[in-house]
């Protein structure tokens, strides 16, 4: 007699303690694409989701990591960055580590002093990058600083005026960061001791976080920097392909999205739009061929969701924001819908969690025919520019003053 599926899962969970706690150890979640295999209820019994806990946090836009029952994020206090670890169940502080990170005289921090970048967990370590591009490695259990590097000083990394904003990524034993001119475009350090591993290219900087993809069996690091889009070998930094975009695509914040059909989706606001590149290997070389360009979808900073042949995202910069569905193969807009501010989308199986900058949270389904909002509530005060983190049915959110956990189990 075969054991039931539930018993099997329980045995599997008991034998692998880490599976008891779903992980969100980097920008964008498990696969860096804001997609998780979690079931959220499409409706709430009361006016909004049940609040599990809420507490003051402090300034900053860093998103929230979750790992083994703990949360990690960053905030700002005076001239210091504060890396903080919280109990995921209660929100209580487990440890805080501060380091000096004064705002440079030539920075413009009217949008806030940051930190903007989201930390990265790799093994028992957590990596953080400050607004002024100081990279630190901490012991994730204690918060003890293991090593640090000042990348403005050491490598000429730019602070982009408003502060460094991309989030680091791990590959094997490396931690990889995008920097940009006048420093190198991409750099990698050994996770263990912070030794310099490689540097590559000379692209202009951006706030867009890199992603790791696999093209025809080969891992590649995809970066969107200035008006350059490129794929690199994450072990060496060697250029695999490069696609130059027009100068209008120079200010890019949103994260690229990779599809199984080998289509890379990029979007930027400020006068540009969205583009799809198809990656192919021809005669042993990788090529990126632009499939289409459309000004009808201009994602400023939000995360997008891809469902089937469609990418859905929040389009708009200074003007009105629309939720837009666009066919990733043709670039044709399927629909656009008003009603939300600039928003992050998080795909949880068939449902999409929407969090807009006004602090409105919604559960919706997206289809080529249109958008159906099942539940909506105000959960944060504006400005909620930080994407939410979903672990199981618990959604962690923050704005520039509070952090909270809400139950999306219905």
């Amino acid at each position: 007699m075969r054991p039931s599926r539930n018993v099997g899962l329980l045995l599997l969970a008991l034998s692998c303690p880490r599976l008891l706690h779903a992980q969100w150890t980097q920008w964008g979640g498990p696969n860096r694409n804001f997609t998780v295999d979690s079931e959220v209820a499409p409706a709430w019994t009361s006016g909004g989701p049940r609040e599990i806990w809420s507490r003051p946090l402090g300034d900053g836009y860093s998103s929230i990591l979750a790992d083994e029952g703990r949360l990690y994020t960053m905030k700002r206090e005076g001239h210091e960055d504060v890396v903080v670890s919280l109990d995921a169940g209660t929100g209580k502080t487990l440890w805080e580590t501060t380091y000096d990170s004064p705002i440079a005289p030539d920075m413009d921090v009217e949008m806030g002093p940051g930190p903007i970048s989201t930390p990265l967990i790799a093994g028992d370590r957590i990596f953080t990058v400050s607004t002024t591009v100081k990279l630190h490695c901490l012991d994730k259990r204690t918060g003890r600083i293991l090593w640090g590097r000042d990348l403005m000083k050491d490598l000429g990394a730019p602070h982009l005026g408003r502060g460094y904003g991309a989030s680091p990524i791990a590959y094997r034993g490396l931690v990889i960061l995008t920097l940009g001119e006048p420093g190198p475009a991409v750099v990698a350090f050994d996770q263990e001791r912070g030794d310099f591993a490689w540097k590559s290219q000379g692209f202009r900087p951006s706030w867009s976080s890199p992603i790791l993809i696999e093209v025809e069996g080969e891992p590649q690091l995809v970066v969107a920097m200035g008006s350059d889009r490129a794929g690199l070998d994450p072990s060496t930094g060697e250029l695999r392909w490069h696609h130059a975009m027009p100068p209008s695509a120079d200010i890019v914040m949103s994260t690229p999205h990779w599809g199984e059909d080998q289509i890379l989706f990029f979007s930027q606001a400020y006068g540009d739009g969205s583009r799809a590149l198809r990656l192919e290997k021809k005669d042993g070389r990788f090529e990126a061929e632009e499939q289409w360009y459309s000004r009808q979808m201009r994602v400023m900073f939000g995360s997008v969701a891809r469902i089937g042949d469609f990418v859905y995202g929040s389009s708009g910069d200074f003007g009105p924001a629309f939720l837009v569905g666009i066919n990733v193969k043709t670039g044709k807009v399927a629909w656009r819908k008003r009603g939300f501010g600039r928003a992050h989308l998080l795909l949880a199986r068939e449902n999409v969690v929407i969090l807009d900058e006004e602090g409105d949270l919604a559960i919706a389904t997206f289809a080529p025919e249109g958008l159906t909002v099942h539940a909506r509530a105000s959960v944060l005060e504006r400005l909620a520019w930080t994407p939410p983190t979903l672990v199981g049915k618990t959604l962690y959110l923050r704005n520039r003053s509070v952090i909270k956990a809400v139950d999306l189990g219905g």
Partner: protein, 372 residues
């Protein structure tokens, strides 16, 4: 006949949307918001409307930069089978029209001309577009010539008119962002208007100074960013719109009673927020175009901002000095500006230099006031 004209006017005016909450644009309907991209007129800056009145004994050029309104264009201009514009509406406050001749503004807004006491705005409702022809297209702009049909309503009289115009669409680029944020649309057009068609019949003594027809030129820059919206994320949008409303009432519509009532209400709301008190006070004291000023609100607000910041913030101190200066209190202006100069961080050379120059100006004013 006159009854019919009145009914026509009432119908046309009722279709022109009311001003928005902040007053710097019009309320766009849900249907229009869903239908296309909204391009909002950006009031302020260049003259948007020029009326040329050329009579035998007098030439007058009437201008305003306080026109508000919007046009609705397709989301995708290249989409086949859609019109270039779906609609639009404009309002021009009569109180904002400037003749640049002595007494001219009063005559223009008086009962014989635009009668602002009964009809405080001239409106235009777009009802159709025809003869669309694309005359230019490159990566950064597309220009179309067209005829814009609509209903012009002034002093309660509605007239159907057709305006030869051009629209130049300029998607946001580095070039356009240097001018203003958002995708831009430049509207240019002109037409002649017989004053008799609006029921204007100048009195005998003005007949040689007012022509039968005036020429009207429109040149407005519209953008997809609503002027009621601040792109500063620190801004509370509700209070920002209320602040705009105050300025709209006082400057654009010359509504002293409503404007200062709202200003006082806003001051109470922001009583513990020095930055917002300072902005309100500075705007009430120095915004150009406010014709009648009640100094009490500006003075109270700026004093409170100084009090909240314990006389330590040079910006608040400078604002209080400005209010005193505008009120004619030269000695107080000098005293408060001197404190502002003393509080400025010496490393901020530019700010210090500007504050000192202002102080020197106030001191000069004080000397002039003291001299016999």
């Amino acid at each position: 006949m006159s009854a019919l004209l009145f009914l026509l006017a009432a119908a046309a005016e009722s279709q022109v949307p009311e001003r928005s909450e902040g007053g710097q644009t019009l309320r766009v309907s849900e249907a229009e918001l869903d239908r296309g991209a909204i391009y909002y007129v950006q009031p302020g800056g260049d003259s948007q409307l020029v009326v040329r009145s050329e009579a035998l004994l007098q030439k007058v050029t009437v201008t305003t930069s306080r026109m508000v309104g919007y046009l609705v264009a397709p989301f995708d201009l290249d989409e086949e089978g859609v019109p270039l514009l779906y609609g639009g509406a404009f309002r021009v406050p009569v109180a904002s029209l400037e003749t640049a001749i002595e007494g001219g503004d009063v005559i223009l807004s008086g009962p014989d001309f635009l009668d602002s006491a009964r009809h405080r705005e001239v409106t235009f409702l777009v009802t159709g577009v025809s003869g669309v022809r694309r005359t230019h297209r490159d990566d950064e702009s597309a220009r179309y010539e067209l005829n814009l049909s609509g209903t012009l309503t002034a002093r309660g009289v509605a007239r159907e008119i057709s305006v030869p115009a051009s629209t130049t669409f300029m998607p946001s680029t580095d070039r356009t962002m240097a001018r203003m944020d958002g995708d831009l649309l430049v509207l240019e057009g002109g037409f002649s208007l017989a004053l008799a068609d609006l029921g204007i019949a100048p009195k005998r003594q003005l007949q040689d100074r007012v022509p039968r027809e005036v020429g009207v030129e429109v040149r407005a820059i519209l953008t997809t960013v609503s002027p009621d919206k601040s792109i500063d994320p620190r801004e509370d949008p509700v209070r920002y719109r209320k602040y705009l409303r105050v300025i709209t009432l006082l400057r654009d519509l010359d509504d002293v009673v409503g404007g200062y009532r709202l200003a006082r209400e806003l001051m109470t709301e922001v009583w513990d927020r020095p930055e917002e008190l300072e902005r309100l006070a500075a705007a009430l004291a120095s915004t150009e175009g406010i014709r009648r000023r009640d100094w009490n609100v500006a003075l109270e607000a700026s004093k409170r901002a100084v009090e909240l910041t314990r006389e330590e913030d040079p910006r608040m101190l400078s604002c209080l000095a400005l209010v005193h200066h505008e009120m004619g209190g030269a000695a107080s202006a000098v005293a408060w500006q001197r404190k502002a100069v003393e509080r400025i961080d010496p490393s901020k050379a530019g700010a210090l230099e500007r504050a000192r120059a202002t102080l020197a100006w106030y001191e000069e004013e004080l000397r002039r006031a003291a001299s016999p």
